[in-house]
Every structure is written in C-alpha cells, then in structure tokens.
C-alpha cells in the first residue's frame, strides 16, 4: 500500500506547490507601503502650473492617486474606467503625471477625457520612486488619515474595481 501512497503523496505536494506558485503573478510585487502613510509631496498641477498641490491637502478624505503618462499604452485601457469613477463622483481621482511632457500630457487628456481633480507633474519620477512606482499605470487608494490602503499595479480593471477598490473606498469613506 505504502508503495503506491508515497508517490501519490509526493505528487500531491508538488501539484499544490506548483498550483500556488504558478498562479502568482511575479509582476505583482507586494508594496511595503500598504498601511503606511502616503509619502508627502508638493508638486505643481498640470493645468495650473502656478498652483502647488500638496498631498496633505487631501487629509480628511478618501482619494485615489493614479500614476499615468501619455507614453503609457496600458493607461489608455484603464482610462475610461477612471473617467467613469470621476463622473459618478465615487471618489476624487488625482493624477500623478509621471515622467511626461506637459504639452503631450495635456493633449492626451483632451483626447481621452480628464477624470482628475488635479494632475500633478513629476517630470523626473522622484515622487514616483517615493511611492515605489515601477510600472505605469499604478493606482493608490489613500484613506482619510493619509494612509495607503491599496495599490493596484497595472491598469485598473472592471473586476478589480468591483471586487476590491470600490468596496474598499466605501468602507474607508464610512470611517471617521
């Protein structure tokens, strides 16, 4: 009996390890910034260069920080969803225009729609590095205390919005 059970057991262990291991996405590196205060920044906004936006201004409300660029192809995929969120007024969306040219960025927003309350400009990606950005687009859910609660690596999808981001936002907005 053991003669047959041992290989079966070994196979099952291997199968479980492979099943879990291969279903992990190596691109989804868990961010160490989750549940940590969002790095502070003061940057000028794309449309109003004279206006400085500080991340502290958003204390007291739940907001999304979406890292985007006009050169980023995947940003185009998620963009209609962001526009939809903004239109529905679910949560204020702020943009971090990452390593981009101001003129092309403005053109891009004209073409695809502008969901952002404000889009701040990070031309050399310094703030991006503070946020651990390594693949654009990335989206952060930041709570009323200014703490990062969720990081979406890669484009926001209908699935991730419905199952993770929007329920989380609702929960965070309910908190004081």
């Amino acid at each position: 009996m053991m003669r047959y059970l041992t290989p079966l057991f070994a196979f099952l262990v291997l199968a479980i390890f492979l099943f879990v291991g291969l279903s992990l996405n190596p691109r989804q590196v868990p961010s160490p910034l989750i549940d940590k205060p969002a790095p502070e920044f003061e940057l000028y906004s794309l449309h109003e260069p004279e206006k400085i936006f500080s991340s502290k201004d958003n204390l007291g409300k739940v907001w999304l920080l979406n890292v985007w660029a006009s050169w980023c192809v995947a940003c185009r995929d998620e963009h209609p969803l962001l526009v939809e969120i903004a239109r529905a007024g679910i949560v204020p969306v702020y943009g971090l225009n990452y390593k981009d040219e101001n003129t092309t960025a403005k053109q891009w927003l004209k073409l695809y729609g502008d969901p952002y309350v404000a889009s701040v400009v990070d031309p050399d990606g310094t703030v991006g590095i503070d946020y651990g950005v390594y693949g654009v687009p990335e989206t952060y859910v930041i709570d009323k205390q200014g703490i990062i609660r969720h990081k979406q690596i890669g484009p926001v999808t209908v699935d991730s919005l419905q199952n993770k981001i929007i329920p989380l936002i609702m929960e965070l907005q309910g908190q004081t």
């Binding site: 190596p26 590196v29 868990p30 160490p32 651990g132 390594y134």
Partner: protein, 212 residues
Amino acid sequence: MMTLIQCLLRRWLDKASIIIFCLGILLAYPILGWSEETYKEAIPVAEDPEIEKRMLALTEDLRCLVCQNESIADSRADFSNDIRRIIREQIKANKTDAEIVDFLVERYGDFVLYNPPMKATTVLLWFGPLIMFLIGALVLIKYLKGRRVQIEDVVLTDNDRKKVAALLDEKEITANVSEVEANNESLTQNFINKEQQNTSEVSTEEDKGKKI
C-alpha cells in the same frame, strides 16, 4: 586589373568623404554655436569613479523590478536608470550603503534585494533547500538500510546449494555443447590416438608375456 583598382579607390574615397564630412561637422560645431538645447546631453557615466564603483557594487545585489531577472547594474530599463541616479545622488549626500539599501527596501520591499533578509516570511526560502536535502538524505539512508537487510536475509540451505550447483552444472554443460561440437573432431582424433596407444601397450605387454 585597372577596374579593380578604380573600384577600390572609389570605395575608399566614399569612406574618406564620410569621415571628412563628420570631422567637418565636429570642427564646425563650436563655430556654428549650436545651442545645448538642440540636443539631449548623454547621461554622465563616470563623473566620479569612486561614486561609480560604490554605485555598481550596490546595484549588483539589487533587482530591477521591471526586468526582474536582471540586476539594476545590468539592466538598461528606465527604472534602473532612475535607481542608479538616485543612488549616485545619495552617495554624494554621504549616505551609507545600508541607508541607501533601506531607502529602496522602504519603497520596493524585500523583492528588490537579491540577498533577502532572514525573516518569518523568508524562512522557507532560506532553509527550504536544506530541508529538501535532509529529506532526500533520510529517504536514501532508509532505502540503503532496507536493501542491506534484504541481502542479509537470504540464507542458503545445503539443499539450495545443491540446487544451485546442479543449475550451474547444467548451465556449464549447455554452454559447452557448442564447444564440444566444435572440438568433436579433435576429440575423436584423440580418442583414436589413445586407442591406438592402448593397443600398442597391450601388444607390448603381450610381447613381455611371450618373453617371460
């Protein structure tokens, strides 16, 4: 022959003209006074060889999160360029290597390190291979011990030995059949010789008897 020389000459002239053209541009460059804004300055590589050396030593043990299987030192990804720039800046700001690594781990997590620290979550990573080796060694020892017992268990009785001997003989006989057949002729020859010898011996005995 002439055409070959002409051809080579023409080719050489082509090349020479390109070189002269390039030289001309280079020489004319400061005279024409093209402003620096018209071209993008190359990334300064080795401003300070000391900084560069430290930066390289650090980045060799750091993972590029975009290309994942390359170190930041090897990678040409935009991400790695940024990290190299940040590290250079921090070295200039007199940060220690540990401080720089901490800075990156704070932002990108342990995944950025090729040498992961010992933690509750990395215990399996550090000791997994050792555990696998021990399991393998235990299985091997158990298997070898089992085999030794198997070998010792077989004790031959006298009856068995006889059987074995009989089997071995049988085997020898069958194996020898062909040899026997091959040697048949020489054997019969020997036999005849022996017979002849015998008869001659007998005859000598008879002779002896007669003499007696």
